[in-house]
């Protein structure tokens, strides 16, 4: 007597309190109804093109390519989207859906603040009340984004429970949703949580890979050899990967945050160090101890500082369709500086994890091979944190 919905292999599901079950059912029904509705699709496309600035560029990183001396490197410039990251793709979809569902208030978790800023932005545009939950530690790491969200009219709640980071922000947003459901939609920021979120968020993000495919065919007349993206929950990665799932010649590589290193307890490398578990509404891989207590993870990147990974990634890893590799803080910071100096593009510290792995792998590839890196966000928000990391005082 079971209705297995929203599964990727054994992963996914709806492991949430009964109080929220009707809300996710209602959301699923609304999503299934509107995703094929031409009016909804037109509205969303209009916002993506004329508000968020899609399609985003696929930029040939000529200097980086030349410098590394291997595969040709292209950057998918999600950092050029309005609000500075891929997060806006999903947020616009969910906010439109929330409006259709008659919701007047949205709540969201945020790590680095990019999802919070995108949600606050779209809420301002559409006139929805907006409350953002952010780990207290992250409000300090990303103080600029807190003020940005407030400027956009959102209320930001610093979360002081647990490790005071992204995981705890998700906990608190889920708790808040159980308190007030009838007028509130939870704009989940990644391909995680209970069904239908992993499927729906992926669908809103898959435009990234769709554009990459069209753009690379136009530029090179063939598919890339590899698509590389950073992975926390995994929304920019699944967005970039999805269109290529049925193209086995394209390697799909997710870069997770290894913090101080995979052998150091201070990391957030879920695939390298995690085990299958059930948390935040989904069955997937999680960093945890032998009793199933969720581990207090760490990364310099607030956006990747999460102990789990979306269920579709867990599945893609199990069936060996995608690979997941750890990238440390040091490597990410080095790549952050490298891209800034080589191409004049300051990447988000999250995206710098993908840059780092591309740097490692490109020189070993032939010159006629192609790598596409999903540059998921811009790095302005990280400048102060990187200065701190390097011991530079910039009087923020």
């Amino acid at each position: 007597m079971n209705i297995r919905r929203g599964r990727f292999g054994e992963y996914g599901g709806q492991y949430i309190p009964e109080t929220l079950m009707n809300a996710v059912d209602e959301l699923e029904q609304a999503y299934l109804r509107y995703r094929d509705d031409s009016g909804f699709k037109n509205e969303l496309t209009n916002l993506l093109n004329n508000y968020a600035g899609r399609p985003s560029l696929l930029y040939f990183a000529e200097k980086m390519t030349h410098d590394l001396g291997g595969a040709k490197i292209y950057l998918k410039r999600e950092d050029l989207n309005h609000t500075g990251s891929h997060k806006i793709n999903n947020v616009l979809g969910q906010i439109l859906l929330a409006k259709k569902m008659g919701k007047t208030r949205v709540i969201a978790e945020t790590g680095a603040g990019q999802h919070g800023v995108a949600t606050a932005t779209a809420a301002a545009l559409t006139g929805l009340e907006c409350e953002i939950f952010m780990g207290k530690e992250d409000t300090e790491r990303q103080a600029l984004n807190v003020f940005r969200m407030e400027l956009l009219g959102a209320t930001v709640h610093p979360v002081t429970s647990g490790t005071m980071t992204l995981k705890d922000a998700v906990n608190e947003t889920m708790r808040e949703w159980t308190k007030r459901i009838h007028d509130t939609h939870y704009v989940l920021g990644s391909v995680m949580g209970p069904h239908p979120f992993p499927m729906m968020v992926r669908d809103f993000q898959k435009i990234i890979g769709k554009e990459i495919k069209e753009q690379i065919m136009l530029a090179e007349g063939r598919l890339p050899n590899a698509v590389i993206a950073c992975v926390g929950g995994g929304s920019n990665a699944i967005g970039a990967f999805y269109e290529f799932l049925d193209d086995p010649s394209v390697r799909l590589i997710g870069c997770e945050a290894a913090g101080l290193g995979v052998d150091n307890p201070k990391n957030a490398a879920t695939m390298a160090n995690g085990a299958v578990g059930i948390f935040h509404g989904m069955k997937s891989y999680f960093c945890q101890d032998e009793y199933g207590q969720i581990a207090p993870v760490y990364s310099i990147s607030a956006g990747l500082d999460y102990p789990g990974i979306g269920p579709e990634h867990a599945y893609l890893s199990d069936i060996s369709r995608a690979e997941y590799v750890p990238v440390s803080d040091n490597e990410a910071v080095e790549a952050f500086e490298y891209l800034s100096r080589t191409e004049g593009i300051i990447p988000a510290i999250e995206s710098a994890h993908a840059i780092s792995y591309a740097k490692k792998t490109a020189p070993a590839m032939a010159r006629d091979q192609i790598i596409v890196i999903n540059l998921s966000g811009r790095g302005d928000k990280d400048v102060a944190a990187i200065a701190r990391y390097k011991g530079v005082n910039i009087n923020e």
């Binding site: 079971n2 009964e18 079950m21 578990g277 059930i278 199933g292 207590q293 969720i294």
Partner: protein, 263 residues
């Protein structure tokens, strides 16, 4: 006979919740005995979890204290085994699904049965996912307790029809914690259950005063109290046995419609 079933026979059941290992395992063991002596009909022992998303601040903090003091599910199994020799009260584990899943579902239920646990409540395992445990629970004779909430509405029928032991009726929206007012839709919720099932209905979330317990008992088959007891454990620490016992007595008297003896 089934201990849980017996707890609802000819009376309104008083169901007490404590966080296992808060502040330590010895205190939990003493509390199980004290609550039994005070008249608790069922005792729920919470397995502390790092991220209890259905709990309010009181039980979140209790879980943190318990984990910080080194509580593990293995230590709780040992404690239950010891206390089971002294009390016949139905004992339930309240746990999130991950600790059960990671321990090994089969192994977990086997140990539950071995040490004398009667049932299990898993707040993040809704009806749609209940077969994650139902077959294994059945095999080991562990009753899986289902929950309904004020938002359940048309879901109540399918949940009630499949419920075993008793049905945990969540009184209000939100997370666990003491509330000054309880949602007034509780009796309608219970009527919907009674239309399709004879499973006893116990009301939880937010109940703390003897008056609330009496009022909720009047419209249901039992009352679940958690945060109000855990708050006493937080306040009195290792010396909480006395205050918890006194409080539980007041609740029990109120539910039996006896005069509240108060100072």
């Amino acid at each position: 006979m089934n201990r849980i079933k017996k707890a609802f026979e000819n009376k309104k059941a008083f169901i007490a919740f404590i966080t296992g290992g808060d502040p330590d395992i010895e205190t939990t063991e003493k509390l199980v005995i004290a609550l039994t002596e005070a008249g608790a009909d069922i005792i729920e022992i919470g397995i502390p979890f790092s991220d209890p998303i259905a709990e309010g601040a009181v039980i979140q903090e209790a879980s943190e204290r318990s984990l910080a003091n080194g509580c593990t599910v293995d230590k709780l199994f040992e404690m239950v085994k010891r206390v089971r020799e002294k009390v016949d009260t139905p004992l339930l584990f309240m746990t999130y699904i991950n600790p059960v899943f990671v321990y090994g579902k089969e192994q977990f239920m086997k140990k539950c049965a071995d040490c004398g646990i009667d049932g299990i409540i898993v707040p993040d395992l809704p009806f749609e996912e209940s077969d994650e445990l139902s077959y294994i629970c059945e095999q080991h004779g562990i009753t899986q307790i289902s929950m309904i909430a004020p938002t359940s509405e048309e879901r109540i029928k399918m949940i009630a029809e499949n419920a075993g032991g008793f049905l945990y009726c969540v009184s209000s929206l939100g997370v666990t914690g003491v509330r000054s007012e309880i949602n007034t839709g509780v009796s309608e919720m219970i009527q919907k259950v009674k239309a399709v099932s004879s499973v006893p209905c116990a009301v939880g979330f937010g109940i703390s005063t003897p008056e609330q317990a009496r009022d909720m008992a009047a419209v249901s088959d039992g009352v679940i109290i958690g945060s109000a007891i855990v708050r006493l454990a937080a306040e009195y620490g290792r010396d909480c046995e006395g205050p918890v016992k006194k409080y539980a007595r007041e609740i029990k008297y109120a539910m039996e419609n006896k005069n509240l003896c108060r100072k």
